[in-house]
Symmetry: C2
Subunit: 711 residues, 2 copies
C-alpha cells in the first residue's frame, strides 16, 4: 500500500542539517535522539563546519551526500533555511521537516521568509513539515526526529499537535501511563503539510487505531469533515481546540453571528462528521487511552461493582448526567449474586460487595455481572479498605478483561496506595481511572462514537443535498453578485422577497399598492392586515410610524392608509407605494439563521472555513434570553436537521407538550431546508436571519427575513 | 477553652473493647494503630478472654479499669454492644466510638438494636460516635482510633465522612499530596454525634482552618446553615453530597416540587450560608488543599505566565467559563516585562515566556506580574520543554509564594517528568495542579468564598425576617390546621384568597355574584372581565366551559353569564354563584413557588429538612421548557431574593432589555416576600404555586395561586 506521506513516516535515509559539536544545540539533540531511537536507515549529519561529527562523516551540503535522501530535517538559523531548502530540492529529497522558528508566528518579516521557503519547496516538489515545530517521533520506524527530551512508546495512536509544548506534555503524560503512539508529530506553522494531510494518511494506515489532534486553528475545516466522512473507516478521531471564549466571536455582525461563533461552527462540523471534541487536556488524553485500549460499548447500560456505597451513588449521578443508564440487572443475575455474596451485600445495581470484600468476592461479582445481557459496560470501583488487596484485585480485573467481550473500566479511588494498582493496569493496557467523572465521561464519549457509527450509514442513505448541484445556481445570482463588496451589506427588501420565493419560503400574502382601492381589493378576504412603508432607508418601521398593525376592517384600512401616505410625502420618501400584508396571528415564534464560516468561496476545495452554519430554535424576544438554539452545518440532511431540532427545548412545545396540538414541524424543517438551499444558491450570503417565523398547527410563516452578503 | 467534644478529640485515657490476639481482627488493628500513632495518654485493652495482650495488661470489662476512662472504642460483635455500653456508662466514660457494624444500615432488627444502644447511652450520658464507622484520627493528639491502613499527616483540615470507604480514599490521596488533617472522622450511622455537632465544635477550634464533609444525607439541614452563619467565623466549609440524580425527587407532588427537589434545597441552603458544595471527589480534595495552603484571592483578575501559547488559551477559556477575568496588565508591567523578556515573548496576559524559558525568565516574569495591582491571582503554567528545568522552576515558584501576598497557583502539565516538581510543591504546601480546569475551578471557588465573606456582613445588616415572629401566627391558622392530614391537600379557593389577602398579594379585582345585575354593576368600569364557576370539584375550568375570557361589553357579559349559569344547573353544581374578575392583560408571565423540605415542624430546632425553598422565574407555558428558575431559602432577605432573581435569564427582560420599559421588579420582590411570610405564618403549607403572575410595568398580579398543605 502506498501511503502518501511514506517519505515522512518511513524514510530509508535522513539528512539532519545543522548538527553541531555542542551537545545542547537542537540539531545535536535531534541527531542523538535519532541515534538512540535505533534508526536503521541511513543517517547523514550535514554542516559545512565539520568533516566528522560525533563519529559520523559530516557533509557540507545535502547535495554532496552520495546516496539518495528521502527526508531532510532542517535545524539551521532562519536566515539560512531558504538556501538549505533549495539545496535539498536540487538533491531530489521528497520532504523536509523545518524545526527552525522565527517565521509566520513572529510577524511580517517572518511571513515573507516563510513564503519564500514554500515557493522554493514547490519548485522542487519538496513537502514541508513546519517550520517552527518540535519534529516527529515514529516509534515503529525507529525515528525520533524531534528535540523532545524522551522517546515515545510504540503503539497505535497517531497524534498531531499544532503546539510543540503541548506535544511534550502529552508525551510526558504517555510515559506515566504507558500509552503508545504510532506517530507523534508537531506541525508548527503548518505551512504545507497540515492536519488534513496527516489525518487522511492515518485514516488509510492500518497501524493506526486512534487519531488525536491538538489544533489552535483549523485550516480547511469543511475538507477535514469530508476527508473523515469519505474515508468511511471506523477510526475514532479526537480533536482538542481551545479558544471557545475568544473575543473573535464578537467580531461577527449579524444576529445569527452573535449566537453562532466560530467555535459553534467547529463543534457542529465535528459532531456532524462523528469526530469527538475534547474539552480539556485530561479529557483528550483519557479519550486517547480509552479508544486505544478498550473495546467499544455496545450500548449505554452501565453496571457498577463497588466495595463502598458512597462512590456507587457518585457514579450513578455521573452516569445520569452523561446520558448513560444504570443497567437493570436480570433476576438470574441477582439470584446468582445473592448466592455468592454475603447477606448484607447489595445485589441491585450498584452492586455493593461491602467494605470487607476480598479478591474472590470481586472476581465472583465481576464474572456474574459482566455475563448479564442487560449490561453493556461494567465499572469496577475500589476504595482501599483494610482488607482490600488493591494489587490482586487489579489483577482480577485485568484477567477478566482478557476474556470478556465488554468494556470493563476500573476506577480505583485513592492516592499513594492505589497508585501501584494503576501502574499494573497501565502495564496491561487497561484504561483505568482515579476519578469517577473522568471515567464516565470517557465511557459516554465511546458510547456516542459507537452510536455515530450506527447512525452513519443511515445518514449516508439520506444524503439529499449535493452542494455542487446548487452552488451559485440562484436565478438572481447576477443581481445579487452585482451588490457584493468586502463590506457586509443587507439585500434590499424586494430582492429578499424574490430569493425567498425562489426557494418556496412561506411568506405572508402581500401586495405592493399605489392607491387605496388596490389595497381594499387585496385585503377584503384577508383581515386582519398590516400596512408597511416600502421605501428603503426606513429600517426600524415602528419608530417612524411606518407600520400599522391589526387593521380589522375597511374603515381602519382607509384611515391608516391615508396617514401612512401623508407621512411618506412629508418625509420626501422616494415612493409612496405601500405594502399590504395579511397579518399572521401570534403563535410560537421561531428563529432560523445561517452564518457563513469562511469566505464566499468556502465550498471550493482547500478554502478555510466550515461553510454555512444553520441555527434554529426559540425566536422572538426570548431568542437572546434563552439562546435555545441548535446548529446544523450545510450540507445537512433532513435527518440532521430534525435531530438537531429535537435537541432544542422549544421542541417540546412544537411536539405538542401536555396535550396541546402539535405544531407544523414538517413545514418548519422544510423552511430550514429552503434556507440551506438558498445559501448554496447564493454562497455569497454572509448571514441570514428569520425572526420571527410564526409556527402554527399548519403553517410555518416567515414574518421577518433579513439577508446580508459579503465577498 | 472548653471544646464540647474534648473527650473525643483529646482524651487522656482510652479503653479499646474487643482487642484480641489475632493480628487481623479490627480491635487489634485499632490497638496497634493507636500504639504506632504514639498516643501519650493511658490506653487500656479490654477483653475478658485475656489477662495480658500484646504486652499490655488486659481488663475483662471497662468498669474494672482502675483509673478514669475518657473515651471507649467498641469493636465487639454486635450482639454484645449494648452490654458494653452499659458497662461503659456505669464507669462514667464520656464517649464511645462504636466501630461495630450491623445496625440501622441493615434493616429492622439493626434499627431496634441501635435504638437500645442509644437509650442505654443516654441513661449514662455517654455520647456515641457511630456505630458502623471507621473511627477517628486526631494527629495533634497522637490518636489513631481507626482501622485505616495508615495514619494521617498532621495539619489544619478537619474532615468528616459518612462513609468509611470515602474516608480511606481521602486519607490515601492526602498521603500522596502531603495534605494534613487536624481531625479525620468517620461518623457511620451518626446515631448521636452528627455533622452538626462536629462542625460546631470545629468552627470554635482555632487549630482548624478548613472543614470538609462527605455526607450521604443531611440530618438537620436548617440547623447546619444556622450553626455556620451564627459562628460568624471566616472558616471555609466544603461539603460533598452525592445523590443529585436520585429518583427521590420524582416523589414530590406539586409543580414546584418537580422543579425544586431535595438537592436544590440543599444547594440553595449551602450557598446562602456561604458553604461550598463540591461536585466530585477530586473537586472536594482540591478545595481542601487550596483552602488549607493558599491565600484567598482578593478579586477575580487572573494573570497567566506560561511557556507555551496553547495552554494559555486553554486557561483563558476556563477563566471565562468560571466567571473570572483575565487581568489587564498595567502599562508599567508591560514595559518592565518587555525589558526582561526576549523580543518574541508576549507581554500581554497570558504572558508567554516562550518555550526556551529558563528558570531566570520565569522568576523575572513572576516577580513583575505579581507586583501589578491589576492582578489578584497569578497562574504559572509550565510544559516540560527541552530547556526547562522543571524542578528549579518549581523552586522559584515556591520561593516567590513565601514572599507574595497574592495566591500563586502553579499548573505543570505533563506526567512522569513533572511529577517530581509536584512532589516538591506538595512538600512545601503549595497547592499545585496537573490539569488546568481543576486549578481554575479551585481559584473560582476561593474567589466566591471571599465574595461571600464580604457580602455576609451586608446580609446580616439586612436581616428582615425573624422566623419565630411569624411562625404559625396566621389569622386563619386554625381553619387551615383543621384541614391538615398526612396526605397532600389543596386549600379551597376561598381560603386561598383570604390567605393571599392577609399577606397583601396583588390579585385581580373580583367579586362573587349570584345574579347578572351584580355582575354588571361590578364590571361596568373594568372591561374586559372574566367569568368563572366557583364550585369546588370543577378544577380544570376550561375543559368544562366554566371559564369565559375576553368579555368586552355588557351584551357579551349577559350571554356568557346565562350560558355558564345553565351549565352549572345542568351539572347539579352545589351553587350557581359566579366569580367576576377583571381580566389582566397578557404580559410577562412569571412563576413563583414554594416547596417545603422536611415536615411542618421543620422550623423547630433539631428537625430534619431545610424548610421552604422559594422558587421563581419564567412562568406560563415556558416554565417547564426553560426551567429558568432560581431559588432562595426561607428566611431570605430582600437582598437574597433580588440576588437570586438577577440570576434568572428572564431578569434581562424584567430589567428592560434592548430599550424596552422596565417591569415592576419591586412589586415582584414584594410578592415573593409575601409568599415567604405566608409559608411562615402557615408552615403546614407543603407547597404553593403562583403561575402565572402577570408582571407589567406597574403591577405584579397573581392570576393563579394554588396552595397545598400537609402535616
Amino acid at each position: 500500500m502506498d501511503i502518501p506521506l511514506d517519505f515522512l513516516f518511513n524514510p530509508k535515509s535522513v539528512a539532519i542539517i545543522g548538527v553541531s559539536s555542542e551537545p545542547t544545540k537542537l540539531g545535536t539533540v535531534i541527531f542523538n535522539n535519532m541515534l538512540s531511537a535505533g534508526y536503521e536507515g541511513k543517517l547523514y549529519p550535514v554542516n559545512p563546519k565539520y568533516q566528522d561529527i560525533h563519529g559520523h562523516k559530516c557533509y557540507p551540503t545535502v547535495s554532496e551526500i552520495e546516496g539518495e535522501v528521502d527526508l531532510a530535517c532542517i535545524v539551521v538559523p532562519r536566515q539560512f533555511v531558504v538556501d538549505v531548502v533549495t539545496d535539498v530540492g536540487k538533491k531530489g529529497v521528497k520532504g523536509a521537516i523545518i524545526i527552525t522558528a522565527g517565521f509566520a508566528e513572529t510577524g511580517e518579516e517572518g511571513i515573507k521568509l516563510e513564503k519564500e521557503i514554500l515557493e522554493e519547496a514547490k519548485k522542487y516538489n519538496v513537502r514541508i513539515l513546519g517550520p517552527n515545530c518540535l519534529g516527529e517521533i515514529i516509534p515503529n520506524s525507529k525515528i525520533n526526529l524531534s528535540f523532545a527530551a524522551t522517546n515515545a512508546i510504540a503503539g497505535d495512536i497517531a497524534f498531531l499537535s499544532q503546539s510543540g509544548a503541548f506535544c511534550t506534555a502529552v508525551l510526558d503524560m504517555s510515559l506515566e501511563t504507558n500509552l503508545g503512539f504510532s506517530h507523534l508529530l508537531s506541525i508548527g506553522n503548518k505551512s504545507d503539510i497540515d492536519e488534513n494531510d496527516l489525518v487522511k494518511s492515518w485514516l488509510e494506515d492500518s497501524n493506526v487505531k486512534v487519531i488525536g489532534a491538538y489544533l489552535e486553528d483549523v485550516k480547511a475545516g469543511r475538507d477535514l469533515g469530508e476527508i473523515y466522512r469519505q474515508a468511511g473507516v471506523n477510526k475514532p478521531l479526537i480533536i482538542f481546540k481551545p479558544g471557545e471564549s475568544a473575543e473573535s466571536r464578537n467580531a461577527i455582525s449579524s444576529h445569527t453571528g452573535s449566537l453562532a461563533g466560530a467555535f459553534e461552527a467547529f463543534e457542529t462540523a465535528m459532531n456532524q462528521s462523528g469526530i469527538s471534541v475534547a474539552k480539556d487536556v485530561d479529557h483528550m488524553f483519557n479519550l486517547l487511552m480509552s479508544y486505544s485500549w478498550s473495546k467499544l460499548p455496545e450500548g449505554n447500560r452501565i453496571a457498577i461493582i463497588t466495595n463502598a456505597g458512597g462512590p456507587g451513588v457518585i457514579a450513578t449521578d455521573f452516569i445520569i448526567k452523561n446520558n448513560l443508564k444504570l443497567a437493570a440487572l436480570s433476576e438470574q443475575t441477582k439470584v446468582t449474586l445473592k448466592s455468592k455474596l454475603p447477606f448484607n451485600a447489595s445485589v441491585v445495581n450498584p452492586v455493593d460487595v461491602i467494605g470487607d470484600a476480598d479478591v474472590e468476592r470481586y472476581k465472583n461479582a465481576l464474572e456474574i455481572v459482566s455475563e448479564d445481557t442487560n449490561v453493556d459496560v461494567v465499572i469496577v470501583i475500589l476504595t482501599p479498605q483494610l482488607i482490600t488487596d488493591v494489587q490482586e484485585t487489579a489483577d482480577v480485573v485485568i484477567n477478566h478483561i482478557k476474556v470478556s467481550n465488554k468494556p470493563i473500566i476500573p476506577i480505583f479511588l485513592g492516592g499513594q496506595y492505589v497508585s501501584l494498582a494503576m501502574k499494573r493496569f497501565y502495564e496491561n493496557k487497561v484504561p483505568a481511572f482515579r476519578d469517577i467523572s473522568s471515567a464516565i465521561e470517557s465511557i459516554a464519549s465511546m458510547h456516542r462514537y459507537n452510536q455515530h457509527l450506527k447512525f452513519k450509514d443511515t445518514l449516508e442513505e439520506h444524503k439529499e443535498t449535493v452542494v455542487s448541484e446548487y452552488l451559485n445556481q440562484g436565478k438572481y445570482i447576477n443581481e445579487v453578485k452585482a451588490l457584493l463588496s468586502s463590506d457586509i451589506k443587507a439585500l434590499p427588501e424586494d430582492l429578499v422577497m424574490k430569493l425567498a420565493q425562489e426557494v418556496n419560503i412561506d411568506l405572508p400574502k402581500q401586495v405592493v399598492v399605489s392607491n387605496i382601492d388596490e389595497a381594499i381589493l387585496f385585503a377584503h378576504d384577508k383581515y386582519p392586515v398590516v400596512l408597511k412603508a416600502t421605501t428603503e432607508g426606513i429600517v426600524h418601521k415602528t419608530e417612524k410610524k411606518a407600520l400599522y398593525l391589526n387593521i380589522e376592517d375597511e374603515a381602519t384600512l382607509r384611515s391608516s392608509y391615508s396617514e401612512l401616505e401623508s407621512m411618506l410625502r412629508s418625509e420626501n420618501a422616494g415612493s409612496t407605494n405601500i405594502l399590504v400584508q395579511e397579518q399572521i396571528k401570534v403563535s410560537e415564534e421561531i428563529f432560523i439563521g445561517a452564518a457563513r464560516d469562511g469566505g464566499s468561496h468556502v465550498y471550493e476545495e482547500g478554502n478555510k472555513g466550515f461553510g454555512h452554519l444553520l441555527a434554529f430554535g426559540k425566536g422572538g424576544i426570548y431568542t437572546e434570553v434563552y439562546k435555545d438554539i441548535e446548529y446544523s452545518l450545510v450540507p445537512s440532511t433532513k435527518l440532521n436537521i430534525s435531530d438537531a431540532l429535537s435537541k432544542t427545548k422549544i421542541f417540546e412545545i412544537i411536539n405538542g407538550a401536555r396535550g396541546k396540538e402539535k405544531l407544523a414541524l414538517g413545514a418548519l424543517i422544510d423552511t430550514i431546508l429552503a434556507v440551506q438551499k438558498l445559501v448554496l444558491l447564493y454562497p455569497c450570503i454572509e448571514s441570514l436571519d428569520i425572526n420571527p417565523l410564526m409556527l402554527t398547527e399548519d403553517r410555518a410563516v416567515t414574518v421577518d427575513l433579513k439577508i446580508f452578503i459579503k465577498e
